[in-house]
Structures are given as C-alpha cells and as structure tokens.
C-alpha cells in the first residue's frame, strides 16, 4: 500500500514538473549561454551601453533583426482609436483590474484546497474534505468570470491599443499561444477535479484526485507566470535594444529583471487574498445560516480562511520589500518615482489599508476566543496587544512631510513636525511593520493555546523561553530601527530592514516550534463551541476582503504608474491623450468603482453557490407526482 502510494506521488510530481517545464520548451530560447546572458540584460536603464552591438557571432545582424522585428512604434495621439466616446484608459484599467482580482482568486484557492484536501487525507477528518470541496465549488463560477474578463481584456487591448498589442504579440507570440493551450489544460483539470470530487474518493482514487489538484496548481501558476512576464516586460524590458528591436529570444524577454520578484509577490499575495475572499464567503453563509450546525460549519470555515489569510499576510510585507528593492536595483529612477515622487502619499493610503487588514484579522481572532471559556484567562492581555497594534499603525500612517497652509507652516516652523516628523522616515515605519507582524502572531499564539493547558514537564521553561525570545526580538527590532534611523548616514537608513525581518522570522519560527512540542498532548480546558461567534466578527472578515481588494487595485495603479508616460519603459512611448499619470484621488475613484463591481460579482458568485445547494420539492408539478 505504501509503495503504491509513493509511486502515485512520484507520478504526480513528474506530471507537475512536466507541466511547469512546458512553457520554456515551447518558447524560443537563447542558443548559447552567452547569448542568454546578453539577452537577459535589461534594455534601457542599465548602465551598459544600450547601443553596443551584440557580442555573440551567431546573433542576427541589425538589419536582419529589424526586418524580422521592427522597432517600437513612435505613435501620435491620433494613432489611438476612439470608440463611442469611451475613455480607453479607464475601460482597460477597470477590465484588467477585474480580471486580475478574479484571476488571483482562482489561482490561489486551488493552492490551499490542495493542502486542505491533503490534511483531510492525512487525518481522515471528513470536515476538511467537505471544506475543500466547498471552496473549489465557489471557484468554478469565479473561473468562468475570469475567462470572460480575460477575453474582454484581450478585445479591449486590440481595440484601444492596437499598436501596443501588436508590438507585444510579436515578442510574445509563442508564449501567448502556450497561454491559450494552458488555459485549455487548466479548464480540463479544474472540471475533472471538481466534478470528479465525489467519484474519486477513497484508496487510490483519492490519490489520483490529489494528483489532479497538484496538476491544477502547476498549470494555474504557469498561467500566472506567463501573464506576469508580459506585465513585467513593460516595466523592465529585456531582449530588446534601445529602439525596441527584439533579438528573438522570447525566454529572455519572459525572464526579465522584475519577473521573479513579481511572481513571488503575487503568489504570496494571492494566497492571502484568496483566503480573505473565501473568508467573506464563509461569513456570508454564517450570517445566512438558520441552523446551529450550519453556523458551526461556516464558523469553522471562516476561522480556517482567516488563518490562511493571516499566514500569507505575515510574509507579504517582506515580499513587497524585496520587490521594491529589485525595482530600485533595476532602475534607481523608477524606484525613486515609486517611493519619493507623486506616489509617496500613496503609501500613506497603503498604511491605512494594511492597518485595516491587520486590525480586522486580529479582531476576528479575539472574537474567536469567545468560543471557549478556557480563553477567558487571556482576555486581559488582549487590550495591550490592541494598543501596540494601533500604535504601530499610527507610526506607519505618519507622513514625513506635512502639507500645510502658510500660517500653519509658520506656526510649526517647517514642514516637519518637531516630534512626529521623526516617525515619518522608513526605519520607523519598518519597525512599526515588524511590531504589527510580531503582535499579530502573538494574537494567534494566544488563540491557539487559549483552550489548552500544556502537560509537558518543561512547560514553565518553554513559556519562559518564548517570553525571552519575544522580548529580546522586540528590543533588537527597536534598537536596529533607532540606530539606523537616527544615528547613521541617510544612505544606510534602510539597512536595518533585513536584520529586522530576520529577527521577526526567528521569533515566529522558533516560537512555533516550541509551541508545537509544548502543546503536544495538551489537555482541553473547556469544549470549543464552533458557531458561538457574534455577527459583528463576520463583518471583520468582510472588512478583510474589501480592504484587500481595494489595496490590490491601488497597488496595481502604482505598479503601472511608475512606467509614467511609457507603454514599455524607456522604449515604447505612450503618446495617447491619457499618457499623463492620474492623481491619487482620480485613481482612488477608479479603484473604488472597480471594487464595487468586483464585490457585486463576488456576492453573485456566493449567491449562486447557495442556490445550487437548494433542492426544494414541488408537489404536483411532475406527472409522476400528479398520479
């Protein structure tokens, strides 16, 4: 039995790896390592001379390349079609954002569905299997909407930006074809995975089903990585010269400088986002439930969804920091535009949104401690966690430079507040973020042990070790922030961020390991009553989902906005009437309209999954019943 299962797992792994390797095999790649290295070099902002001829002797001549691949077009405003007075930029912006929201959801959910199904198999607890099935059921309708919006996006790009689409198609034609094939594969695997759920139960069949889950994830991630390549090529073009002439190496264009940083950031963010949306689903069902069993089921589902969202939310700031560092490394100018120009104030809005995410996730955890009487002993400590979280949020929220009237400027004596100005710099904000993460983890730790009492002989020592770990870690984070923030040269101010992140990770990992061993075989203090949650806690889950959606929309605006007036950075200029960067207020309006549309569609998806489970008996309608 064991050997057979191992064989099936190995087979699944080989299949998944084959799917992952499929795209690079389809697309053109460099003939030699030297050519690959030359082609992967960023095109315009790099310090190398962009006009230098390729070093590889096998590379086609400039004339041949230009004949095969034309330079980026130099457009005029009249080259952009206008259709029925529709604002092309807003239309494409909204459609692309809606597609991305749904895409992120349908790529993320199968990841944790796979894990939940595997947990169900390992523990033989049917509840996990039921929950995984319910999650994937919601995904089916969302998948259709993703495809519809993807088609709409493709049409709108062809209609409104034909020259850009044509230019990108010439470079990415192979990968676009691979994308279409992968979409068929994704559909086939998803439908077999969903519709075969009850058929493929027990024994080897369950292993086959789990294998399909793995394949579904492999294909879904491939789809996302390909789409990311087109997006990041527009930010950090590769395999093209200064005039935009493509050298024919599609793999190099895909594997551009910002491809992997965006891939990593989006995978982590998608999981957190998917968790928040299924959390909203569970909350909606919880609020609509009429029976206690239903409330218990959806309360448990909401808890798990919130756990998934928090688990991915904790490393998300680090992934975001890595992405920003890579943007700086690629182009200092682009990095400064992102953090220091018109977008500087965007990060204050981001602070509000991430503050909302952390506070709502923590609030839900604290409400969850009401499920058991055993948790009451931790209640007095919650207020201190709340104070730290709010304090950290306020530090993150503090702007460096204040916008003041002349009289206010005179009264204050400058654009920086005497005391609060010191909190506006990055080291203070990095310190605040690490505090947010550590104390959110502490909330989770309290929740996890709320209903249990450790029975191991070294419990007291374990607790002491954890207290020491948290204390030392927080002191280290503070000292790093203060020293690098206020006692070193400006150029070293962000140097604290990496050791601060490492400190936070050390706290989380070591503390989790200690807790796992310490609470092995722990006894329960009181029964855990699923469903005993106030309705207001469910609105925290909705706040999480709405904030996350809005935040993704906002960050999509800045990611695209740092290209400024370029379709493809420094190579293909945007000459449309909308080439200017829109202001934050305008962008917020577009994002808000998009979020309302998305939430309306999501609630529609929730409603569909609700009615699909209803089977009312209508008496006297069918012939058999009349007889």
């Amino acid at each position: 039995m064991l050997t057979r299962n191992i064989r099936i797992i190995c087979g699944a792994f080989v299949l998944a790896v084959s799917a992952a390797l499929m795209s690079p095999m389809i697309v053109h790649s460099a003939d030699t390592p030297a050519q690959a290295a030359a082609a992967t070099a960023p095109a315009a902002p790099a310090t190398k001379d962009a006009k230098a001829p390729p070093s590889d002797a096998k590379a086609p001549s400039a004339e041949t390349k230009t004949a095969l691949f034309p330079p980026a077009p130099k457009l005029k405003a009249e080259d952009y079609p206008t259709i029925a007075g529709v604002n092309a930029r807003v239309a494409v912006w909204l459609i692309a954002q809606l597609h991305l929201w749904f895409g992120a959801f349908v790529v993320a959910v199968p990841m944790f569905v796979f894990m939940i199904e595997a947990i169900g198999m390992a523990t033989r607890d049917k509840r996990y299997d039921n929950m995984a099935y319910e999650f994937i059921k919601v995904t089916i309708t969302a998948y259709s909407l993703t495809a519809i919006l993807g088609g709409l996006l493709c049409f709108s790009l062809v209609l409104f930006y034909p020259h850009l689409f044509n230019y990108l198609s010439l470079i990415f034609k192979e990968s676009m074809f691979a994308y279409a094939l992968l979409f068929f594969a994704e559909s086939a695997v998803l439908y077999i995975y969903y519709y075969g759920w009850h058929w493929l139960q027990g024994g080897n069949k369950k292993w086959v089903h789990l294998t399909l889950g793995l394949l579904l994830n492999a294909v879904g991630l491939q789809l996302m990585f390909l789409a990311n390549a087109w997006t990041t090529f527009m930010m950090s073009p590769a395999a093209v010269d200064a005039s935009g002439v493509f050298n024919g190496d599609t793999w190099a264009a895909i594997h551009n400088y910002l491809w992997n940083p965006i891939n990593i950031h989006r995978v982590v963010a998608n999981v957190a986002y998917g968790g928040s949306i299924v959390g909203a689903y569970a909350a909606f069902k919880f609020l609509s439930a009429r029976k206690q069993e239903e409330r218990a089921h959806y309360d448990w589902m909401g808890y798990n969804a919130n756990f998934i969202a928090i688990a991915a939310l904790l490393p998300l700031p680090f992934a975001g920091y890595y992405l920003t560092a890579e943007i700086y490394a690629y182009s200092q100018q682009m990095g400064i535009t992102l953090m220091g120009g018109v977008f500087a104030w965007l990060f204050i809005i981001q602070a509000v949104l991430i503050g909302a995410l952390f506070l709502s996730a923590n609030y839900y955890l604290w409400c969850g401690m009401g499920r058991s009487e055993g948790a009451h002993r931790y209640n007095p400590r919650i207020k201190y966690i709340a104070i730290v979280l709010v304090g950290a949020f306020l530090v993150w929220f503090t702007p460096h430079t204040l916008v003041l009237t002349n009289s206010e400027l005179k009264g204050l004596g400058g654009p920086y507040h005497k005391y609060l100005g010191a909190l506006g710099i990055m080291p203070a904000k990095n310190t605040a973020v690490n505090f947010l993460i550590v104390f959110t983890f502490l909330s989770f730790l309290f929740y996890r042990r709320a209903n249990k009492i450790a029975t191991v002989s070294w419990a007291a020592a374990g607790n002491a070790a954890q207290i020491a770990l948290f204390t030392a870690g927080l002191i280290n984070i503070t000292i790093l922030g203060v020293y690098y923030g206020y006692f070193t040269n400006t150029v070293y101010k962000v140097a604290a961020s990496v050791p601060q992140v490492l400190t936070t990770l050390v706290i989380i990992i070591i503390s989790t390991v200690i807790d796992a061993f310490m609470y092995r075989g722990a006894k329960e203090v009181a029964p855990l009553r699923w469903g005993r949650m106030p309705d207001r806690s469910q609105y925290a889950l909705f706040l999480l989902a709405v904030s996350f959606t809005w935040l993704m929309g906002l960050m999509g605006y800045v990611r695209s906005g740092i290209r400024q007036h370029w379709h493809v950075s420094n190579i293909f200029r945007d000459s449309s009437p909308d080439a200017f960067t829109p202001g934050l207020g305008y962008a917020a309006s577009v994002v808000s309209v998009g979020t309302i549309l998305f939430m309306a569609m999501v609630i529609f998806v929730f409603w569909l999954s609700t009615i699909s489970g209803r089977h009312p008996t209508v008496k006297g309608y069918w012939k058999e019943q009349a007889a």
Binding site: T47, F284, Q332, S569, D574, W607
Partner: protein
C-alpha cells in the same frame, strides 16, 4: 435578503471610507504631464542664460536631483568641475576623456567610466554605476541639453565654463509640459514674484512674509550666482536662523530660463 443588504451596505461604507480618505485625507498632487519638445532660440542666448537652462534641466527633465542631493544616494556635484582633473588621473578611471568638459559628458552618457567610491551598484565593487545614460531612455537629453548641463555643472562647482553654445538656429529642449510650452514668458519680475507668491514667506515689494529671510536688500549682500542657486537649489546654502527644507525646490523647473534670469537680476538690484 436582509443579510445581503447589510453586507452590501457595509462593503459600500468601507469602500466609501477609503475613497474619501484618498480624496480628502491626503494632499492631491497633480503629476506633471509628460515632457514635450519645444523650440529654443539658442542663437540669441547668452552664456548666463545657457547656464540657467542647464540648471533648469538639472533640476527638472534631467531628474539629476532625485539622486544627487543631500540624501546621499549619489555623490554631490558641488565640486565636480574642480576635482574632475584628479579623476582623470585615477587608476580606476576607464574612460577616454582628456578634458574636464569631456569627462563631464562621459559621466553623463557612460557613468561607469568612473564610479565614485561607495556609490557603485551593490556587488560590483564600485565598477558599475547605478546611474543611467541620460541621453537615452526615459530622460533622453539631446546634445544641446547635455551641453547646457555641463555648463551648469562647471559654473555651479566653481570651474571655468568651457562649453560653447551650439551654433544652431534652434534646438529642442524640454519645456516641462505641454501646458508650460504654450504658456507665455512673464514680462516683469514683479509678475514672477506675484505668480510664485514669494511674498508669502519673504519680505519683498510691498509684502512682508516672515517664514523666510527678508529679500528687501538681498542684492547688497549676495551676488547673482548665489541668488540663482538659492532659487533653484534652496537647501544648498541655508540662511542663518532658518531651517532647511522649507522653501520649495521646484522653482528651477517651474521658472523659464528668461524668467529665472529676470528674477535673479531683479533680486541683485535690491540694494537699498
């Protein structure tokens, strides 16, 4: 149904909160429009005006001050013309320049020819500069603009201005935006002072701002070079008793070359 309405109302309330904060909770900064090419009559330009044009590009289109500032992202250029000769003799120099002017041009278009210690790309041991070629890509300075920046760097760092104004009837230069390109040059220094509300912070004309130092007799104390620098790079030298960072650094970009010179001449004339 009631739950559906409650959830919808709650979601709308949250979205409205974020939208409202983004529109009224933070300042609404209107980004600059994309740069457009405008014709400049270089033939009738004096060297002083050409240097001022370089200053405007240095602070505007060239985006030089994004990194070459007191934040320490890139080396300061306040002495670049006087130390260039030493760099040409440095063992780490990899370029082909023979004169200061050639070195400055090289540092603009091939910045890795010499990387100041501590300012190279991480991991390159100061052999590769993070600075882009300013004649290409998103900055795209043309030959006249490059020369004017070199003239400005030579002038502002205390060196001899060796650059010659290009002998062409007209050359393209950035105007900072379509709207600005169409905007007429202001005719009088009083109009410039009024437009940019200098009197809100300084004593000037019949206005008596107190946030910044008085300009009523500024011409008696400082020469034109100092005044020009104080306008386009106000934190370069801060008057005693006043905090840095208070005066906007955007005037170098906002003022046209002719306006800047008119304002400098006007201030230099305020002696009584």
């Amino acid at each position: 149904m009631i739950n559906f309405l409650k959830v919808a109302a709650f979601s709308l309330f949250v979205i409205a909160g974020f939208w409202g904060f983004s529109n009224w909770g933070i300042p609404q900064i209107k980004p600059e429009p994309p740069p457009v090419e405008a014709k400049l009559d270089l033939g009738s330009m004096t060297m002083e005006q050409f240097v001022a044009l370089g200053g405007k590009i240095y602070n505007g289109k060239g985006t030089c001050t994004l990194c070459h500032n007191a934040m320490g992202r890139a080396p300061m250029l306040d002495k670049v013309a006087t130390i260039s000769a030493d760099r040409l003799k440095d063992a780490r120099y990899k370029g082909t320049a023979k004169t200061v002017e050639e070195y400055l041009l090289e540092s603009l278009v091939k910045p890795s020819a010499f990387v100041v210690s501590g300012f190279g790309k991480s991991g390159t041991n100061d052999t590769e500069s993070p600075m882009p070629d300013v004649s290409g890509g998103g900055i795209g300075l043309n030959e006249s603009e490059l020369k004017s920046v070199i003239a400005y760097l030579q002038d502002s760092s205390g060196g001899e201005v060796t650059v010659e104004i290009p002998k062409m009837e007209s050359a393209a230069a950035d105007s900072g935006g379509a709207a600005k390109a169409e905007e007429a040059v202001l005719k009088t220094p009083e109009a410039i002072v009024a437009k940019h509300a200098c009197g809100a912070c300084h004593v000037i004309g019949n206005q008596a701002g107190t946030i910044g130092p008085s300009l009523a007799k500024i011409g008696a104390t400082y020469k034109k070079d100092y005044l020009r620098q104080a306008i386009i790079d106000p934190d370069a030298v801060v008057a005693k008793g006043y905090a840095p960072g208070m005066m906007p650094k955007t005037y170098g970009e906002q003022l046209k070359a002719a306006e800047l010179e008119m304002l400098v001449n006007y201030l230099a004339g305020l002696k009584k």
